[in-house]
């Protein structure tokens, strides 16, 4: 019995398909697309193709993430908070705090000993402390986003970036460069700043071991190092930090079928369009 989870984020769409033993049959990550959000559908098609299945063969499809509404082929919509918690429970059962750094938001989720969501905090109001901040500044610095981590680790020290606002920080970075600061020092300063902001937000939940970092931010070793310095211990990183929400969504679908919970609505595959 296969189950699918689709996590439509602001930047990336993630699909995971698992079988009844919770073994992953397919896992695909692709861009959501800014103006062409139908790319999310292509990610789903790709995952179904790789698993050798069809839409009809999937026993349950759960959609999550910022674009979870209006997914016509999904059987249920579940918030990403619940899905992340479920996905992490499968990967790291001892984790109590999830720090998720996504493209347009960052969140902290507290999980109790039973694996349930106890509390969460979220910033989606402002680009500070999100992947977007890094993306904008990386472009200003002419550094590839994927290289930011290594660049940061090469720094001997860091330049303090005092602006939290992305727009102002961009300006500040340009001034620091003009004053002779090196790119690695600036990138390390940015990581220090984002880590400070995110960890301060998550402190409201009470930080407990273990802590996992997920989302695109987890791919940035410089950011991880800065977060570890703030929390005072090593954090866990899933082998594939993007897909924990989609994995959780698929596993929640499996749970629904096992408990005899039925679909919220009929699946529709004709004329599928997102965000309309």
């Amino acid at each position: 019995m296969p189950f699918a989870g689709i996590d439509i984020g602001s930047t990336m769409t993630k699909v995971v398909i698992v079988d009844e033993n919770e073994t992953t049959l397919a896992s695909v990550i692709g861009p959501t697309g800014v103006e062409h959000r139908h790319l999310a559908l292509e990610v789903m098609d790709e995952a179904i193709g790789r698993s050798g299945l069809s839409y009809e063969a999937l026993d349950f499809i759960v959609a999550t993430g910022y674009g979870r509404m209006n997914v016509p082929f999904a059987d249920k919509q579940i918030t990403e908070i619940t899905c992340h918690a479920r996905g992490i429970r499968a990967i790291f059962p001892t984790v109590r705090i999830i720090i998720d750094i996504g493209g347009q938001d960052s969140k902290g989720i507290k999980i109790d000993a039973a694996g349930k969501v106890a509390n969460f905090v979220m910033n989606d109001k402002c680009a500070a402390g999100t992947g977007r901040f890094l993306e904008v500044i990386a472009e200003t610095l002419g550094v590839k986003l994927a290289d930011m981590g290594d660049v940061s680790l090469a720094a001997k020290g860091y330049v303090k970036i005092s602006n939290t606002c992305t727009v102002f920080a961009e300006h500040e970075v340009t001034s620091r460069l003009a004053e002779g600061a090196t790119i690695p020092e600036i990138v390390a300063g940015l990581h220090e700043s984002i880590a400070g902001r995110v960890v301060n937000m998550v402190r409201h939940l009470g930080i407990e071991k273990d802590v996992v970092v997920t989302g695109g931010g987890a791919k940035d070793v410089g950011l991880i190092k800065a977060i570890e310095e703030k929390v005072g211990f090593t954090v866990r990183i899933p082998p594939e930090p993007f897909i924990t929400g989609a994995l959780g969504a698929a596993l929640l679908g499996k749970g629904f079928v096992e408990r005899g919970i039925t679909r919220d609505h009929e699946r529709r595959l004709e004329g599928v369009t997102f965000f309309r």
Partner: protein, 262 residues
């Protein structure tokens, strides 16, 4: 010996532009504004010389100079330094004696001050944490729309259906603008939406200050009719704007050089 008329100058050394205003016994003699261009020293000297030559006044006839602004320390001539907010407050007081609140919307910062009946600063707040309440937000959006800063105000006033942004963050609004353009939104509606978002942020800042009328809007923001209207709507009061909203701090500096009067 006849009494020579006395002249006073105010110089506002800002990060973007440098302004000078020269006043006489009872009128503004001349004003000058130029881009700072990274050299405060030379630019400050030039604007001061500019107002003096426009008015035909010799430098040794100046009875007092007050400098203000970010680069006030780098001026090459002898002058008294006063904070920009004190100058702004005094400038508004001399232009509009009924003014009790001033909002200065500049490129990077938005400042607000309460004005005492004597033209002194009664209270003061500044927003420097978030670009949404500042002119920077408009610059970012205007760049995407390929609209010059001068065109923003008149265009915004044409809007019949302002875009409602789902976010109050300038960075997120930037990407939202791109999507809205793709969906066919008109430039005037996007600009009017930005003006509303800025005005609501400014109104939030002012709530802490407990504004009293009359309210004066200065800085580059004062030149933007669309923003003036949005701020006036958000505050629910009529907003006064000086004829030259970017010169009011330099004018206030000149008034302070004269002893706090015009």
């Amino acid at each position: 010996m006849t009494d020579h008329p006395k002249y006073y100058a105010g110089v506002d050394v800002g990060s973007v532009s440098i302004k000078a205003v020269l006043i006489g016994a009872d009128r503004i003699m001349a004003s000058e504004m130029m881009a700072s261009g990274g050299n405060y020293r030379d630019a400050a000297q030039k604007v001061l010389e500019g107002v003096l030559s426009k008015a035909g006044v010799a430098a040794d006839r100046l009875s007092g100079i007050v400098v203000t602004g970010l680069g006030a320390e780098s001026v090459p001539f002898a002058a008294r330094q006063v904070s920009d907010i004190s100058c702004q407050t005094m400038g508004c007081h001399c232009l509009f004696p009924s003014a009790r609140t001033v909002i200065d919307i500049g490129g990077q910062f938005t400042k607000a001050a309460k004005i005492s009946p004597q033209g002194r600063v009664a209270d003061f707040l500044m927003s420097e944490k978030c670009a949404t309440g500042s002119g920077r937000f408009l610059q970012v959006i205007a760049r995407i729309l390929q609209v010059s800063l001068e065109e923003i105000g008149p265009l915004s006033l044409k809007s019949r259906n302002p875009v409602e942004f789902s976010t109050n963050c300038a960075v997120f609004a930037e990407s939202e603008t791109v999507s809205r353009i793709a969906e066919g939104a008109r430039a005037e509606d996007i600009l009017a939406g930005v003006h509303r978002a800025m005005a609501s942020k400014v109104a939030m800042l002012l709530k802490r200050l407990k504004i009293e009328p009359d309210v004066v809007l200065t800085g580059g923001g004062g030149q933007d009719e669309g923003l003036v209207l949005a701020v006036s709507d958000a505050l629910g009061v009529k907003v006064l704007v000086p004829e030259q909203p970017r010169l009011s701090a330099a004018f206030g500096a000149a008034c302070l050089a004269k002893g706090g009067k015009f």
